[in-house]
Every structure is written in C-alpha cells, then in structure tokens.
C-alpha cells in the first residue's frame, strides 16, 4: 500500500532532522541532510507510482543531481574546515554570535 511508503518516508525524514539538530560532527550532519533528501525522493517516487506519471522520477533525478553538487561543495568546505581548525566540530564556528 502506498501509505506504508509515505510513512517510511516520514520516519526517515524525521530521523534526518534529528541527526542535523543533535549531532556536532560535520560528516554526520551532512549525511543526515542527504538522508532527508532521500526521504523526499522516496515520496516522489511513491507518488509517481500512484499517479502512474514519471514526473516524480525526473524530480528524483534532479534531487540526486543537487545532492551530488552539494556533496562536492560540502566536502570541499569540510576539507577547508579540517585544514584550518583540525576539527570536525560545527561548534567551532560561532561567528554569528550576537
């Protein structure tokens, strides 16, 4: 049944959120974001199946492309971060502090 796919998507998405807000390791945070993207992808594909239209598939591909681009940039940033601070902690950066 389609509902089970959507429930799964919700669970994965929520887990992604939890990962983002509870962890300080940059890699984990980054992969949690990927997890949320994947949850969305699952929903896309599921809806594509329901409507029997493949637009959802196309969107899922776009999301993958974005994820790839994001991965490239994010990892570059992580490398820089590690170079400068030798840390993988997001709390190292607090420039926004008021």
């Amino acid at each position: 049944m389609i509902h089970s796919y959507l429930y799964l998507s919700i669970i994965l998405f929520c887990l992604g959120i939890v990962g983002v807000i509870s962890r300080r390791n940059v890699f984990t945070v980054f992969m949690s974001i990927e997890l949320m993207l994947n949850a969305a992808n699952l929903a896309f594909v599921a809806f594509a199946r329901v409507h029997e239209s493949m637009d959802g598939h196309v969107l899922a591909m776009m999301v993958m492309a974005v994820a790839a681009a994001e991965a490239a940039l994010a990892l570059a940033v992580v490398i820089l971060l590690h170079k400068h601070k030798s840390k993988l902690d997001t709390n190292v950066f607090s420039l926004l502090k008021g």
Binding site: I17, I21, V29, T90, N91, F93, S94, L95, L96, G98
Partner: protein, 633 residues
C-alpha cells in the same frame, strides 16, 4: 494732491551712492595701493553737499506753493504688494520733512568736512567715510519715506550704521560691545515699531499704508488699537531716541570717533524718534493717554540723564547725557501735543549739540585723544576759537537767552504749563537748572583754571581750519537759530503747521512771561552754582554716597546685565547643555534605548551555533505542526 517731483529720490540716493562707491574703493584698495586721504574726503563730501543743495531746492519749491498744498511726493516704484498690502518706495516732502531735511543735510555736510581733519591718519579712512555716507543716506530715507515701512528702512539703516561706526575701532573689544549694545537695544525698539506697524496695517492699512491715506482714515481706528499702536511705536522711539528704559546704549556709543557721536547725537538717529512721533501726530493727537505717557517718560528721562550728567568725568559722556536729557525735553514737548515745539527743539539742538561735540572733538584732538576733563584745564588760551564756539554752544544748551536753546526749551516748558501739565513743567524747570550746572561745570573745568596736565597742555594747539570753520558755522546757527521761532514770530511753527495735527494752546501772556522768567532764573541758578564750585579751578572730586551712585549711573547697566543679559545667556546654555539633550531629545533617546534593550534581550538567543538555530526552526515547526494537526480534524 501735491506735486510729484523726481529729484526727491535723489536726495537719499546721493549719499548712498557715495557710500557704495567709497566702500568699494576702500575694499579694493585697502590691502595694496592706498589712495590718498584727500580723494576719500572729497568724494565723501560730494554726496551730503549735493543732498543739501537738493534740500534747498525742495524748500524753495515748497515755499512757492500755497500753504494747504505744501507737499511734494515721488513714487519711485512699487516696493512690494501682496493682497491688501501695497508698499511703494515713495518719498514725501512736506514742511516737516523739509525742515528735517535741511538741517540734517546741512549739519551732516559740516560734520563730513570736519571729519576730513579729525580722521586724518586713520588707517580705515575710506571705510569711515563710507559708513558716514551710508548713515546720512539712511537718515534721509527715514525722513523722506512716505510710509512707515519706508521709514523703517531708514530707521534700521541708521541702527546698522551706528553699530558699524561705534565699533569702528574694532580691535578693542569694548568698542565692539558698545556697538553690539547699540544695535541690539535699537532692535528691541524696532520690535515695537514693527508690531505697531502691523497693528496699524490691520486696523486701517488696507486702503493705503502711506501717511496721507493713514491720516485720512485715522478715525476708523478703534481706540484700543490706536492706543496699542501709539505705545508700540513709542517703544520704537525709546530705542532709537534713547529714552527710559532703552537709553543705555547712547552713552556707550561714545566709543566711536567723535564726529560719529556728533552725527548720531545731532543730525541723525536719536532725533528719529521725535520725528516719528511728530510724523504720527495725527495718531498721537487722537490718543491723549499715549501723549501723557510719552511726555512723562520724556521728562523723567531728562531728569535721570541730567543727574547722571552732573557727575561724569568724560567730556563726551557729559555731552552724551545732555543729549539724552534734551531728547527727554523733546518727547515731553511732543507728548503734550506741542509737536512744533518738540521739532523746533530738535532743530536748535542739532546745531548746538553738533557744535559741542565737534568742539569736544577738537579738544580731544588737541589733547591727543584724552577725554577725561580732570586732565584738562586752562585750554582757553591755547584754543580760542574752540573755546569761543564751545561757550556759545554751552549757552545755547543751558538755555541762556537769546541763544537758540532758550527759545526752543522755553517753548516746550510753556506748552506744558499751558496745557496744564504742571508736573512736567516743574520737573522740566529743575532739569533746566541742572543742565546749566553740568554744562558750565564742563566748560569751567576744561577751559578755565590752571592746566592739570602740563605736558599735554604744552602740546595742545588750535585745530586746523577744516575743523574750526564748521565750528564757526555751527556756532552762528546755535546762536541765532532760536529767533526763527521766538514768541510772536513763530516762523517755524507756522511753517510746520500743515504737517502736524496740533492745537496751539491759548494762554495768557502772563503765563508766557512767567515761563520765560522761571527759565531764566533756573539758568542763572545753575550757572551760579557751577561757577562757585569750578569757576576758579577745582581738583578732581572723590565721589561718595549718592554722587557715587549717580556717577555709576544708578547701576542700571549692571542691573540690566544681571536681570536680562546673564539670564538670557544662562537660558541659552542650559538649553543646549541640559534641555536639548535631555528633554527635547529625550523621547528620541528613549526610543533608541528601548531598541537597545530589546536587542540585548534577544541577544541571548544568538549563540552563534548553526545547529542551535536549526533547533529553533524545528521547534517552531513542531509547534506549528501541533497547532495545525488540531485544526486538521
């Protein structure tokens, strides 16, 4: 209507042009190439003399006209016109302004000629003459203006020039302060004048704001407004003509060069107030209460100034207080509705006061700018011409028959008596006695007795002809001008009659003779006391008690300083040091502070960790979800 003549506008224009021309010449040459003094002197005298010639022409043209139609006018252009307000740059010559015109230009010219000698060697020679010409030009605008507004141009103009000339030696702070004082005190009077004009305009000005239209519509004015206007205009007059309470600037005005003092005191400026009241005689004759106030203020000023005059050591200060005192007489005259008497006293006073000032200038010049009378003495022998002319002036001032001052002063006292103002007459008589005393005190101390400063005495010598000739001309005027209006002849009164709204009091010849006799007695008493105290030479007195109080002018300057000037300054500094930042700017600052406080409060949440911001977002989202899932069912 009277004739329109185009050359009326030229009369003030000559000196004004002269002022502009000399001024520019001075400004552009004073740094590099100095022009010879003669050029300036000659240029400076051209304007006043030409004006005098024109004034004579006006006089003869007026004289040729029938008595009722004796006025000439010239409307140069529309000055400004808005709504009901139409002001022309118009000039009016009637017997009153013609008389003023004649002696202002005559005495002005003489003072200019005299200044050529007096000012020689001054580094700002050109500037001086530019100001002098401007001064005379402004006075002529004042005299000739055909509406109060045009008069006001001259009125402020002479105020400005007095400021410029009093602070002429501008390196000395005291001189500049005196100039400031003159201008500011005059401005206080001008405020009255402007407000008076405003009330007058809203009262009856809509159908024309020149003197002739005002005179024609005067009966439309309600009594309350008329009184307001009279008093406000008189405030203006007290400023310009140095009456209580605004007389304080005139004695300080001695800071300027002596010819300036002569010009201010004799020909221009201070007489403007009297002239203005006479000009508005149609209004003041309407409001008896205003006249009484004017008369009383005048005579009290006369008394006060005479008291001060008796104890001054500076030759020019003595003369200055005598001017204030004489001006008081004039106001007493116009106040009791004897306008022609007042104006006549202006006329004679112009001669003898110019004479006395120029004579004093001559003495000061000879004594190398020493003004303290207790450093002089015995100058009679060294400066006979100056001595002789000064004595004539002093006799005229003191009211000795048959010199001019006697007739004019007596006319005023007689008018006061005849109109039933006995109080004014009595005070006037007392002042006459005091006048004789302080005038001859000065003469005796300066010219008689032994020289007190031998060194200065040895170097003193008679002034050059360019200075003494004007003295002699003025002395002739001071001696004989009085006959023009002696009882029974009354030439001046008749001449002025068409311009003034006045009723000659009918009094018996006994009153006339009584007034004359008392005046003569007062004069004799005054001179007797002076002679007995100073005739044989006297040492500089040490003042104590009342004398000291009077010598310090009853501490009026100090009083004004403490009551007005200092509080004003204090308010000024408290405004921008206390009120401005705390009260006026307070709400603005409070708003700023409020924002700062809110900002600080919210700063707590700005921890700087992106993760925490994400938590805020998720918590918000979560709360929204809670809310939305309830509404979903």
């Amino acid at each position: 209507m009277g004739q329109s003549v185009h050359y009326l506008g030229l009369i003030p224009l000559f000196p004004l042009m002269g002022a502009v021309f000399i001024g520019l010449l001075h400004v552009f040459t004073c740094k590099n190439a100095k022009l010879p003094e003669k050029v300036y002197g000659l240029l400076a005298c051209v304007g006043p003399v030409l004006s005098f010639v024109m004034a004579l022409k006006v006089f003869f043209q007026l004289k040729a006209l029938p008595v009722d139609a004796r006025f000439l006018s010239h409307n140069a252009f529309t000055w400004f016109s808005v709504g009901d307000l139409h002001i022309n740059m118009g000039f009016l010559a009637d017997p009153l302004s013609c008389l003023m015109l004649l002696f202002v230009t005559l005495i002005g010219s003489l003072i200019h000629i005299y200044s050529i000698g007096y000012m020689s060697g001054d580094k700002n020679y050109g500037k001086f003459f530019a100001y002098m010409n401007l001064f005379l030009g402004s006075m002529l605008v004042l005299v000739l203006g055909d509406s109060p507004v045009v008069m006001f141009v001259g009125w402020e103009g002479v105020g400005l020039c007095s400021y410029l000339l009093i602070s002429f030696y501008s390196e000395d702070t005291n001189n500049v302060l005196a100039g400031n004082k003159a201008f500011i005190v005059n401005r206080i009077g001008d405020l009255g004048f402007v407000l008076g004009m405003s009330f007058l305009f809203w009262g009856i000005g809509a159908s024309g704001f020149d003197y002739l239209s005002l005179k024609a519509n005067i009966h439309h004015l309600t009594p309350a407004i008329a009184l307001t206007v009279c008093l406000l205009l008189f405030v203006g007059a007290t400023g310009k003509s140095a009456q209580i309470p605004l007389y304080v600037w005139l004695p300080d005005a001695m800071a300027g060069p002596t010819p300036v003092s002569a010009l201010i005191h004799a020909a221009t400026m201070v007489t403007a107030g009297v002239y203005m009241v006479a000009r508005f005689s149609f209004l003041y004759a309407h409001v008896e209460l205003a006249g009484d106030i004017v008369a009383w203020v005048g005579i009290l000023t006369a008394l006060l100034a005479a008291i001060f005059g008796m104890f001054q050591n500076d030759i020019k200060k003595v003369l200055a207080y005598s001017t204030v005192s004489q001006l008081g007489y004039m106001f007493a005259g116009v106040g009791v509705a004897a306008y022609s008497a007042g104006i006549f006293h202006v006329f004679t006073h112009a001669f003898f006061k110019a004479l006395l000032f120029l004579g004093a200038g001559s003495v000061i010049y000879a004594m190398h700018h020493e003004q303290n009378i207790w450093k002089m003495g015995g100058l009679k022998a060294k400066m006979p011409k100056t001595y002789l002319t000064m004595v004539i002036g002093a006799l005229a001032l003191a009211g000795c028959p048959p010199f001019s001052g006697f007739f004019s002063k007596d006319e005023i006292l007689f008018s006061a008596l005849a109109t039933g103002h006995y109080g004014i007459w009595a005070v006037g008589l007392l002042v006459a006695c005091m006048t004789a005393y302080y005038t001859f005190r000065m003469i005796f101390v300066v010219f008689h007795g032994e020289p007190r400063d031998q060194h200065a005495f040895d170097h003193a010598k008679e002034s050059p002809a360019v200075m003494t000739v004007p003295l002699i001309i003025l002395a002739v005027g001071a001696a004989f001008a009085g006959f023009l209006n002696m009882p029974g002849v009354q030439t001046v009164s008749h001449w002025l009659a068409p311009s003034l709204t006045e009723h000659h009091p009918h009094a018996s010849s006994f009153v006339l003779v009584f007034a004359m006799a008392t005046s003569i007695v007062a004069f004799l008493v005054g001179i007797k006391i002076a002679y007995s105290k100073f005739g044989k030479g006297a040492a500089e007195p040490v003042f104590s008690g009342f004398e000291k109080f009077a010598y310090n002018k009853f501490y009026v300057d100090e009083l004004y300083n403490a009551v007005i000037v200092q509080p004003y300054k204090a308010v000024g500094s408290s405004i921008w040091k206390t009120i401005e930042p705390n009260v006026t700017d307070g709400p603005v600052k409070a708003v700023t502070r409020l924002y700062m406080m809110i900002g600080t409060a919210f700063k707590v949440f700005q921890v700087g960790y992106v993760r925490i911001y994400a938590i805020y977002m998720i918590v918000g989202l979560s709360l929204m979800s809670l809310f939305l899932s309830q509404s979903l069912n």
